[in-house]
């Protein structure tokens, strides 16, 4: 277990003082520190309507930035749209839990007004969780899947 030094604490303080106060995330080694002001989190969700069937059109590829996390890396949605697990309705999903992915592995499709955008993992490792449900709206930056980096 890595200990924090006084310099680390100074660094935390600087982050808080000089930057956005509402939330602070700090990662060092296997330690993840996350502060968020009460009441400042994302608003609670109104129920979404049932999603249309996933389309089968070919898709543009959008690399997803990777956010490191204590229990693995979360792959966030690179854009807002409807997230699909499979290339078309009834087809096998691009990935499932336990799969090994490379940075270029397609993990799903995000549709924006009939435009299909392939999403790649952006990180190599083992898929540990599928976070965003099939056929529902994902926000920009919303975590889609979780990957344990190799």
């Amino acid at each position: 277990m890595t200990g924090l030094t006084r310099d680390d604490i100074d660094h935390i303080l600087k982050l808080i003082d000089g930057s956005d106060f509402d939330s602070l995330k700090l990662e060092t080694g296997d330690l993840k520190l996350e502060l968020r002001r009460k009441g400042a989190g994302p608003a609670t969700a109104a129920p979404a309507p049932s999603a249309p069937a996933a389309p089968a059109a070919p898709a543009a590829t959008v690399p997803a930035p990777v956010v490191a996390s204590g229990g693995g890396s979360e792959v966030p949605a690179p854009l807002l749209g409807t997230f699909y697990h499979a290339p078309k309705p009834g087809a096998a999903p691009f990935i499932k839990v336990g799969d090994t992915v490379t940075e270029d592995s397609v993990i799903g499709i995000i549709e924006v007004m009939k435009l299909m955008n392939q999403v790649t993992a952006g990180v190599a490792g083992t898929v540990t969780e599928i976070l965003a449900p099939n056929g529902e709206l994902v926000e920009h930056g919303q975590a889609l899947i979780k990957v344990q980096p190799v």
Partner: protein, 454 residues
């Protein structure tokens, strides 16, 4: 009649909060589309749901038509309110809404066409017999010279696709016209992708007066006029209603012209017809029509008692206005000061950052529309307007006095603001006399800069 149950708000800042206020009163749910920079904003906290459209820059979030429509559909909304600015007068959004079965809370795509292009708008005004600044469109130097001879100098060259003061060139002498015209055409082509220009008489002393229109498609009513002459670089700073010291015949002429224009283009929704009032000649000229709710709508709400956002939603639902012109009674006088996070001592540079205190207490005659709270962040990516102070009094003097008190009492600290400028305007004798023109504020700023007390 299609009752709206859930509105997607495609905007930010105070107008998003303003729309949420009326939706809560009406029992309509709200979903707010925000950029990453606005995810902790007051609007995002107050909406029933907020979704992140994209990164901070508007071009990657607030201005993406497809993303906005997808977000509205994906969150089960049945309507989109575009606010002002951003996509509020965007025909592609209005059309996409129509295609996807969403109600666009604004006018039809045809209406947007009729007012969106300055030259088309001018043609409509001519056909509706609404007075225009003498001038017209020109393709060649010869046409321009002929027009100038007929109208007289000084003249203004305007880009058809311009707006908000961009794409304008003043020409004082005939010998300057050819070169300036060439320059204007190439600049317009470069800036707007549209090289068309037109020429107008340059009105040296003018007042900016606009008429609020309400139309359900059948009844076309006006809700009085607003005077927005206190401007800095074509940006409105102080607005008021009614316009002070307007001859009653001219006031009625403005109202009638605005209704005639709206009727001519079969306008249906809330809208505003803007005029330039030529004080020297005692005439007024059509400028343009804004097919959205305006920043300064609260002064009209103050003197009419109407909720313009509620009416805009009702019209979009297909409800009749349910009133006649006589039902709109104007009472007292209202003034609005736009509080901007900017530094008056440093060329009005935007002053983004974290707000430490934001306190706008209830006071008799004061309304404040704002998205500021203690600890709120003002991101550097968007407009610097952070609050609107609106006062309403029996008389104009009373509205000014209440504004002076409000400026003393309210607090917005942590960032620089133009509150001091507003205090200077409210305390200035010329402004207090009423009826200033668009040259007033630059003159006051020059006086302040010269160390003379405003």
């Amino acid at each position: 009649m299609t009752p709206i149950k859930r509105i997607f708000i495609a905007n930010r800042g105070e107008i998003a909060v303003r729309i949420i206020r009326t939706c809560r009163a009406l029992g309509i749910e709200t979903v707010l589309g925000v950029s990453q920079a606005d995810r902790d904003s007051l609007g995002a906290q107050l909406a029933d749901r907020a979704v992140v459209l994209g990164p901070a820059p508007s071009t990657q979030s607030y201005l993406k038509v497809g993303t906005v429509v997808q977000a509205a559909l994906g969150t089960g909304c049945d309507a989109i309110h575009p606010g002002y600015g951003f996509l509020s007068e965007n025909k592609a959004l209005a059309e996409a809404c129509a295609n996807e079965g969403l109600i666009f809370i604004g006018p039809s795509p045809d209406n947007l066409d009729a007012v969106g292009d300055k030259l088309t708008a001018r043609t409509h005004a001519e056909n509706a017999k609404v007075p225009l600044v003498p001038g017209g469109s020109v393709d060649t130097v010869e046409e321009a010279q002929a027009l100038a001879t007929a109208v007289g100098f000084p003249m203004l060259i305007k880009a058809v696709a311009g707006g908000g003061g961009r794409g304008m060139k003043r020409v004082d002498r005939a010998e300057d016209l050819p070169a300036q015209l060439d320059l204007a055409i190439s600049e317009a082509a470069a800036a707007f992708g549209d090289g068309r220009v037109y020429l107008e008489r340059y009105v040296t002393v003018g007042r900016h007066v606009e008429v609020q229109i309400l139309s359900d498609g059948e009844a076309i009513l006006h809700a009085g006029e607003r005077d927005c002459s206190v401007q800095r670089r074509y940006q409105k700073v102080v607005e008021e209603a009614p316009a002070p010291h307007l001859p009653e015949a001219m006031r009625k002429g403005l109202h009638d012209a605005a209704i005639a224009y709206a009727r001519h283009i079969n306008y249906r929704s809330l809208g505003t017809v803007e005029f330039l009032v030529d004080v020297e000649r005692g005439e007024f000229y059509f400028l343009e029509m804004n097919a959205r709710v305006q920043v300064e709508h609260p002064v009209t709400e103050a003197i009419t008692g109407l909720d313009l956002i509620a009416l805009q939603i009702a019209i979009a639902e297909g409800r009749p206005l349910g009133m006649t012109q006589d039902d709109i009674v104007l009472t007292g006088h209202a003034i609005e000061c736009r509080l901007n996070a900017e530094d008056p001592d440093n060329g009005f540079m935007p002053s983004p950052g974290r707000v430490s205190q934001a306190w706008f207490p209830s006071m008799p005659g004061l309304r404040v529309d704002t998205h500021m709270t203690p600890g709120a962040m003002i991101p550097p990516y968007y407009d610097s307007m952070v609050a609107k102070l609106i006062t309403h009094g029996t008389t104009r003097d009373e509205a000014i006095a209440t504004m002076q008190t409000a400026l003393k009492v309210c607090a917005l600290t942590g960032v620089k603001t133009n509150a001091g400028l507003h205090a200077a305007i409210m305390g200035d004798e010329t402004f207090q006399q009423g009826g200033v023109d668009t040259a007033y504020l630059p003159g006051l700023l020059a006086r302040i800069q010269q160390g003379g007390k405003a």
